[in-house]
């Protein structure tokens, strides 16, 4: 359980750093130190503020939850079981695989249809599609390196 305890401590530290960075960005953005005031529209500014605020709220909520768990051994074990439950992992993994195919199909169709409508729509879909494929390839490469055995390990 100590490994998981340390994991939670690391998560708390990362969340605290994230909160600090987001609050700084929000402060500097609202004071006009960063961003281009000529370009920044109210909607865009509101969107960034909303996004940062929700991220800060979620991070603070996580920090409080993790700190409470670290103090209560029973809750810590419950959370460990919940997080490491293999059925849950299987559901998330299967959903993720299907999600990828649905997203790529949708973006592919969007790229083709967008090409007939508007060049900006076409490029938006195309870049999103390209990004999804690149991320997939990088992750595949990463997990291949992690799980596939080396040829030098081969024994006759």
């Amino acid at each position: 359980m100590n490994v998981y305890r340390n994991k939670l401590k690391i998560r708390i530290a990362y969340s605290a750093v994230l909160v600090a960075v987001l609050l700084t960005v929000m402060f500097l953005s609202n004071m006009g130190y960063i961003g281009n005031p000529a370009v920044e529209k109210d909607f865009f500014k509101g969107f960034i503020n909303g996004l940062c605020f929700s991220a800060v709220f979620m991070s603070v909520f996580s920090i409080v939850r993790y700190v409470m768990m670290l103090k209560d051994k029973k809750k810590l074990k419950e959370q460990y079981i919940k997080e490491n439950d293999e059925l849950k992992k299987k559901i998330v993994s299967d959903a993720g695989t299907n999600e990828y195919y649905f997203i790529v199909t949708g973006l592919g169709a969007g790229t083709i249809i967008g090409g007939y409508l508007n060049i900006y729509v076409f490029w938006s879909f195309y870049i999103a599609l390209f990004y999804c494929c690149i991320v997939r390839e990088i992750l595949c490469f990463w997990y291949k390196r992690k799980y596939k055995s080396d040829e030098s390990d081969y024994e006759e």
Binding site: I81, N84, D85, L87, K90
Partner: protein, 72 residues
């Protein structure tokens, strides 16, 4: 995959929750394994069998595995 978990659990008057806590998983996972909707991993199968003091083959029915091999 068929299992004898429900039988063994009832013999020992254990709830799904108690077994789940003992083997470090959730009640939902135990339920899914019992009704055959989910096949436990090797580690979890070992933990469950070990908990009942039996071998994996005594708790889990592997006849389906042999049948599915014939499909090839």
């Amino acid at each position: 995959m068929k299992t004898k978990i429900r039988e063994l659990r009832k013999q020992r008057k254990l709830s799904q929750e108690e077994l789940a806590v003992a083997v470090g998983t959730t009640r939902q996972t135990i339920t899914s394994i019992e009704v055959g909707k989910y096949t436990a991993s090797l580690v979890l199968a070992y933990k469950i069998s070990h908990y009942f003091g039996l071998s994996i083959e005594e708790v889990f029915d592997f006849s389906d595995v042999y049948n599915s091999e014939d499909d090839f």
